[in-house]
């Protein structure tokens, strides 16, 4: 019974995402980004640098960095899209009154929340996969680079989207739809900047600066997952050969190390914890 309702609500959430304008906006943004990146990558191979074009190794390093930059753009679109879907889907329905007739049915609120979460995860994951694969194809056809671990990278990006939308759902049980979207995206951006600061701290050998990144990555795992995804997209042999100084300096679009199992476990626990808190807050809320 509960599983059936979860699936019904998840399907409804996907239907909402598909029929609302947000999907069209996402599609336009994504196509624009993909087109720009195709143009950029096509130019990359002909760029002259100190009198000559890139060597294969250099090209792979640059392709890694630019791919990571474009993937960051895609993850930002996914983050914005899901955060602004997660907010209205709960807070908006409570505010408008749609939740009244739905919640008067013989269903538990936690079931509805889980269904919405599942629908949004499928939507975010689906977006990241389709847009990411399209980007890989563009990079492969222009500069002949294919990321070493595409599946792991896309899975980590999907997980990053899941983390952010779970946070969006928790916020939307307490604040207005727009505020929950804005706060979620704001925190996402702040954590990314903290991650860059942490990277610079590592580069300079400044422990306390490096800890800023580590702590923020534990509090909100979006940036940690993003760095794991970058590591899966970049060519480690090219990095080892040419990327030494870039790595040392904490370049924001290159990652130093893959994610640990402990960090992935923590991320899973974080999602469960925040979703549990959202369920608790939603259960106690008067509609």
């Amino acid at each position: 019974m509960t599983a059936r309702i979860v699936l019904v609500v998840a399907a409804l959430t996907l239907q909402e995402a598909a029929r609302r304008k947000v999907l069209r906006a996402l599609a336009v943004l994504t196509l624009a980004l993909l087109a720009l990146s195709a143009w950029g990558f096509a130019n990359l191979i002909s760029i002259e640098f100190e009198g000559g074009t890139f060597t294969t190794g250099e090209l792979r390093l640059v392709a890694s960095q630019v791919l990571n930059l474009v993937m960051f753009g895609l993850s930002l679109i996914a983050a914005l899209g899901t955060a602004f879907l997660a907010g209205p889907t709960l807070a908006g329905e409570i505010e408008s009154g749609i939740a009244l007739s739905v919640m008067a049915r013989p269903i538990r609120r936690s079931t509805v929340l889980l269904g919405k979460w599942l629908g949004l995860v499928v939507f975010g994951g689906g977006f990241v996969t389709v847009a990411g694969l399209a980007q890989f194809v563009i990079v492969w056809s222009t500069v002949d680079y294919w990321p070493p671990r595409p599946v792991i990278g896309l899975a980590l990006l999907a997980a990053q989207t899941a983390v952010l939308l779970t946070l969006g759902l928790l916020l939307s049980t307490a604040v207005s739809p727009m505020a929950s979207g804005v706060v979620a995206v704001g925190l996402f951006g702040a954590t990314w900047i903290a991650g860059v600061v942490g990277g610079v701290g590592h580069g300079l050998g400044n422990e306390s600066l490096a800890q800023v990144g580590t702590v923020s990555q534990v509090l909100l795992p979006t940036d940690g997952l993003w760095r794991g995804a970058m590591h899966a997209f970049q060519d480690s042999s090219a990095l080892a050969e040419f990327g030494g100084p870039a790595m040392q300096g904490g370049f924001p679009f290159l990652s130093r190390a893959p994610l640990t199992a402990a960090y992935l476990t923590w991320t899973g626990f974080w999602i469960a914890l925040v979703l549990g808190l959202a369920a608790l807050a939603f259960r106690r809320r008067d509609l």
Binding site: I5, Q15, G97, L100, A104, P106, R284, D286
Partner: protein, 328 residues
């Protein structure tokens, strides 16, 4: 007029109570409901019952707590105290709402769906099998048959309210809660709702109706619960609440003795040659003929004698004014 005494306000619900109440299982049984929003008490010790197949009107001024009581019954608002049984099951259990239909006061439905899809969704959420044909009939019953494929987002308020009625009725409910079901409807729509309510009564579906249109309530309800400032000010059948009858007489040549004779029959009011005597709820069959004969005997010229009945609106205002006076 009777206050509900079956429930013990504030008393904890015992297993024995649950079993005793479960056998005839009224549509709703609630006891000692209390809800406070910060410093404001919205609901204060409300208890009442809605029997199977009964249509009960919930009346009261704005802010009396009617919508909050309805939301507590449906598990949408958590009461600070009190118990609710819906169709024999504690309202904490979501399964108690399998056979319950609800039209909220604030009615909005997924704007990206069509009415047919909204009904399909609610049938799925209710866990009830309702064939497509029956769902279509349900839309036709509220006058939306030819709009079944349009997006709800383009609907007027009145049409959304009609859709809300269809949503409340689609999953074959045994108990329907309608919170201001005609607030956005035109006169024809209101008449349609009245017909729907009468059809529900024929099918022995219990209804709790919150409406400001007292005429509507008076026409269709078996019983009325009047709320004021979060409390049950009065409740009972229409006969009990409107029990007081009156007699209006247009008289000439009334002397002091005749006036005393009129006053002896019941509380008397006079406006020119029009005399109104309030009679007891069940007057003796000889009261009126004896009064008229006595007046004629005293030389009074009797031009007209009309029986009258106090309207629910007058009664409601009386009760609310009396309540206001008590508080002061």
């Amino acid at each position: 007029m009777t206050r509900d005494t079956a429930a013990r306000p504030g008393a904890p619900l015992l297993d024995a109570d649950v079993q005793a109440l479960a056998s005839p299982a009224p549509a709703v049984w609630c006891s000692g409901l209390r809800k406070q929003y910060r410093r404001r008490t919205a609901v204060d010790g409300v208890s009442f019952t809605v029997g199977r197949g009964e249509i009960v009107g919930l009346l009261g001024p704005n802010g009396a707590g009617k919508t909050t009581v309805i939301k507590i019954l449906l598990g949408l608002v958590r009461p600070d105290a009190g118990d609710v049984l819906l169709l024999g099951r504690p309202a904490r259990d979501p399964r108690s709402r399998v056979r319950v239909g609800y039209l909220p006061e604030l009615f909005r439905y997924q704007p990206w769906l069509t009415p047919a899809e909204v009904l399909a969704l609610h049938v799925r959420l209710a866990g009830v099998e309702v064939p497509v044909g029956e769902r279509r009939e349900c839309l036709a019953a509220v006058g939306l048959a030819d709009r079944a494929g349009d997006r709800v987002g383009g609907f007027s308020k009145g049409m959304q309210q009609r859709l809300g009625l269809a949503v409340a009725l689609v999953a074959r409910p045994e108990f329907v809660v309608l919170d201001e079901p005609t607030s956005a409807l035109d006169p024809i729509g209101r008449a349609d709702v009245r017909d729907l309510l009468l059809a529900l009564r024929e099918r022995e579906v219990a209804v709790l109706l919150n409406s400001h249109l007292i005429g509507e309530v008076e026409r269709v309800c078996d019983r009325v619960v009047i709320l004021d400032k979060g409390r049950v000010a009065a409740s009972g059948t229409l006969a009990e609440l409107l029990g007081g009858r009156e007699l209006r007489l247009r008289l000439g040549e009334v002397n002091a003795e005749a006036e005393a004779r009129l006053a002896a029959a019941g509380p008397l009011t006079r406006s020119g040659d029009l005399f109104t005597v309030a009679l007891p709820a069940a007057p003796d069959s000889t009261t009126v003929p004896d009064l008229v004969a006595g007046l004629v005997g005293l030389g009074v010229r009797v031009h007209a004698v009309e029986p009258g009945r106090i309207s629910l609106e007058e009664r409601l205002l009386d009760i609310l004014r009396a309540e206001g006076g008590d508080r002061r």
